[in-house]
């Protein structure tokens, strides 16, 4: 056994006085995220699943194309198949759960105490966690966005022509997907920060992402149809849905404008980050 006197070296004294460096905090959260076996497994399975779903949908469209009525052939919308709303509701719920677990897991295990003894600046620790989780989920969103469209093009292009990565609006769809996945993760982190209990957090996140978009379509008491639609349009799911509508056809539903959809996602992100970073500051852990 070595004595401590020999293990305490000049290197460990480096920068002992100052605050923790931002890149060290980011590095620590990066290690924490990827050292859990479930992280690469869940992210990998999600990516592969969504690429396969896009492939499957494109294959169906491709095979059935000869039977389409003439008006449909005039105005095809392959992005509608590639970015299918119900399937992406599940992606959003999963992203929310992933974000929630990065916070709830730390509270449930008690690791949060060890973390905060190592770095007492709670806001900075949580900001680093928020940053790492957002970036990782944004990369997932980007890969899914680009991948789904790329696979769709590869499958349908011999029959449904005129679409590419330069089709007007497609980058709005891909960017929207890149943004909505981390926004959902941030919402999950905020919910976990408020609730802390793992089971309660997961229930709340799934209710918000899966029941919420359906509930606003139901005849809620006290709200008119327009108010329900406005409420629904503020949800991240419908904001993303609005960004993915590429069809030139007339919109018959009560939908928000494109800028309103972006604003909605931005607000969800900002409020979630604010909750995650500040609430822990005033709490016994």
């Amino acid at each position: 056994m070595t004595t401590l006197a020999t293990t305490s070296t000049a290197a460990t004294r480096r920068g002992a006085a100052g605050p923790a460096r931002r890149r060290d905090l980011l590095g620590a959260e990066w290690i924490k995220l990827w050292s859990l076996r479930s992280t690469p497994v869940v992210l990998g399975v999600l990516l592969v699943s969504y690429l396969y779903l896009a492939y499957h949908a494109a294959q169906l469209a491709h095979d059935s194309y000869p039977t389409w009525p003439a008006f449909a052939k005039l105005d095809p919308d392959p992005a509608h198949d590639a970015f299918d709303f119900p399937k992406f509701l599940l992606l959003m719920a999963t992203a929310g759960t992933i974000g929630a677990m990065t916070v709830a897991g730390e509270h449930a295990s008690g690791l949060i105490r060890t973390t905060l003894i190592a770095v007492p600046a709670r806001g900075r620790v949580m900001l680093a966690k928020v940053t790492v989780v957002s970036v990782v989920l944004a990369v997932l969103g980007l890969l899914i966005g680009v991948g789904c469209w790329g696979i769709t093009l590869a499958v349908v292009s011999d029959r449904i022509t005129g679409f590419s990565f330069t089709t007007p609006g497609i980058w709005r769809v891909i960017t929207g997907t890149t943004v909505v996945v981390p926004v959902c993760g941030l919402i999950g982190m905020a919910v976990a920060t408020l609730i802390r209990n793992t089971a309660g957090t997961v229930f709340a996140v799934l209710a918000f992402f899966l029941v919420g978009p359906l509930a606003v379509k139901a005849p809620l008491p006290l709200l008119s149809a327009n108010q329900r639609a406005d409420l629904g349009n503020t949800l991240p799911a419908y904001a993303w849905g609005r960004l993915t509508i590429m069809s030139h056809g007339r919109l018959v539903e009560h939908v928000s404008s494109i800028p309103a959809a972006w604003t909605s996602l931005t607000l969800w992100a900002l409020v979630s980050v604010a909750i995650t970073v500040t609430v822990l500051r005033h709490r016994d852990v």
Binding site: M1, T2, T3, L4, A5, T7, S8, A11, T12, R13, R14, G15, A16, A17, G18, P19, A20, R21, D24, L25, G27, A28, E29, I31, K32, S35, L36, R37, S38, G105, E106, S109, G110, L111, I112, R113, T114, T115, L116, I117, A118, V119, P120, A121, V125, H282, D284, V285
Partner: protein
């Protein structure tokens, strides 16, 4: 140096820590003793900024804990060995903590070897025994090579070899000039480890003094007597002015008389005795007396009860 000044923590109607003031000096091991629920862990949590005090202050080398940017470099702490994510390996757990404080990655292997887990770094913490987790917690505390170390019940779950190792480690850390603050609810753990004792009960400070002074408090020094006829002997000894406590069916603990005087009395009154042995008051006795007093204090503070009696 740890300074606790008028520290108070109230949870609803429960006063967990009540106006606690003491000081933990460098270069020695300070034991923090008290029965379960005495407020030891709450005090340590407030010291480490995890819980906000209702009143008072706790500082480390003159600064509140939250003023340290990199906690591990200033204070190493083991509060609860379970405060780890069971899904990570020991290496990953320590690597993340080391990284957050800008410590070099090699510190991970160094501290794992120091605590005897050099071979277990790649194993997931979920598969560790309680003793191994305690060692991992101690490794975490040592990671930043800090001048102040705080351990909450670090001996729990360690095997006899581990307990001896931990004692030697605490003594060595103190000998290197560090401040070492170790809590326990067992006096016997502290007897061979601590130089100085801080004793709390019911959230209040009961004693803050060197180990030797504390040992001198033991007033229950007495004599154990074994006899087949305890009732008769007890009567004899009480008449001679002793206080007698029956221990089992054939033994008495006697205070107020010397062993020689007890032998004399038994001989003259023709009571058979098998054994008469004098014993000094132990640290354990001193501790029990002190903390029993704090328990009585709490019980008598309930007015309804005392009226009934």
């Amino acid at each position: 140096m740890i300074e606790i000044n008028q520290l108070t923590k109230r949870y609803g109607s429960v006063l967990a820590v009540d106006d606690l003031t003491f000081c933990v000096r460098p270069g020695q091991v300070t034991g923090f003793l008290g029965p379960n629920g005495a407020g030891k862990t709450t005090t340590m949590r407030m010291l480490l900024g995890l819980n906000a005090p209702t009143g008072g202050t706790a500082t480390i080398n003159g600064r509140p804990f939250f003023a340290f940017g990199t906690g591990l470099r200033h204070v190493g702490a083991l509060l609860d060995a379970g405060d780890v994510h069971r899904g990570r390996t020991a290496n990953a757990h320590l690597a993340a903590l080391a990284r957050s404080n800008g410590l070099p990655r090699r510190r991970v292997q160094e501290v794992l070897e120091t605590v005897g887990l050099g071979e277990a770094g790649r194993r997931r913490v979920g598969g560790f025994s309680l003793g191994m987790r305690q060692r991992l917690g101690i490794a975490t505390a040592l990671l930043g090579d800090p001048p102040v170390l705080v351990f909450d019940e670090p001996i729990n779950g360690l095997d006899p070899e581990g307990i001896r190792w931990a004692r030697e480690l605490f003594r060595r850390l103190a000998a290197e000039g560090r401040t070492v603050f170790v809590s326990s609810h067992l006096m016997s753990e502290m007897e061979h480890t601590a130089d100085h004792l801080v004793v709390v009960g019911g959230g209040r400070l009961l004693a803050d003094e060197p180990l030797a002074d504390f040992a001198a408090r033991a007033t229950t020094a007495g004599v154990t007597v074994r006899t087949p006829d305890p009732a008769v002997l007890a009567e004899v000894l009480r008449n001679a002015g002793a206080s007698v406590l029956a221990e089992g069916h054939d033994a008495l603990t006697v205070t107020g008389l010397t062993a020689a005087r007890i032998n004399e009395l038994a001989f003259t009154r023709r009571v058979l005795v098998h054994e008469v042995s004098a014993h000094d008051g132990t640290l354990e006795d001193a501790f029990m007396e002190l903390t029993a007093a704090s328990v009585r204090y709490r019980a008598s503070a309930t007015p309804a009860r005392s009226k009934d009696r």
